[in-house]
Subunit: 148 residues, 2 copies
DNA sequence: TTCTATGCAAAAATTTTGCAATCGT
DNA sequence: ACGATTGCAAAATTTTTGCATAGAA
């Protein structure tokens, strides 16, 4: 949905198309929320796909330098999380009670970004925005039903 | 400057006012940008203040649960970064070339947040927004003069 | 074939924890 | 004095790296 297919994005000659890279890419494109290395690892292992964690870290760095993913607003304890740089971009609404993450489709800062670009002379390539609070289930009680 | 003084914020009875907590708080209030545990540690050690890194991690967690600070959009390699929850809130513009961080004072999402709160029924307590790109010095050459 | 990417295991970096001693109230 | 907080050192967790092998072009 908006994210191009793996082979469309990676016609680069210096980018080999391995099954591990394809798997990691697929996990990202099927996720609405940012993912940690370990989460990706567990997802793939669950799908009977054999891959090593260090390979995932290397792919994460590789995708990051290629601009395919970015490190997102960190939500998963102390692990770093990443997400696809989709063409239509998304933001997130995170419940600090149960850590549920909901995707927000609108982007209220696009035009602001343009004016900021002019006033600061930065060449702004992206932004990240996330909202935090309590979801309907966690209000009142403020209970913490971690769904980790 | 928006951030209240240490003793103003912490009149709580279950919050002891130790010098370590005061130091860490001061480091935050003198910084315009998010900080990692190690950065705080080095800052304090440089000022001849004796503190241990594990104490800083504990204070970070303590301040977070008290709502004094929050984990910010991560910029410092793989370390977690935190920033004060000031009353007048700020966002950041980060250069991905040299890692310079500039504070942005406007907030273009306040009213959007209110409508999001209605449509999602979340009780939204905060948001984080950061912009990324190349500062004037790092444009063109795209050189990376890390000022770490 | 050639050169890059992977897997494994070991290392490095970051964060957390147990326990005795210290400090704030 | 009492109970919470600190420092130290050790443990746990997360991320990176070296090297031999496998795999893509």
């Amino acid at each position: 949905m908006g994210a191009q297919s793996f082979s469309e994005q990676f016609s680069d000659k210096d980018m080999r198309m391995t099954k591990q890279r394809k798997w990691v890419y697929e996990v990202f494109s099927e996720s609405e929320v940012p993912l940690s290395a370990e989460k990706i690892y567990r997802t793939l292992i669950n799908e009977e796909k054999s891959i090593s964690l260090s390979t995932i870290y290397r792919i994460l760095r590789f995708f990051t330098t290629k601009g395919v993913i970015t490190r997102g607003a960190t939500t998963d304890h102390h692990k770093a999380v990443y997400e696809l740089r989709r063409t239509e971009h998304k933001h997130h609404l995170v419940c600090v009670g149960c850590e549920k993450v909901v995707a927000v489709n609108n982007c209220p800062v696009q035009s602001y970004q343009e004016s900021l670009q002019k006033s600061t002379r930065f060449d702004i390539t992206e932004h990240r925005l996330a909202f935090f609070g309590y979801c309907p289930d966690c209000q009142g009680g403020r209970e913490s039903k971690k769904n980790k």
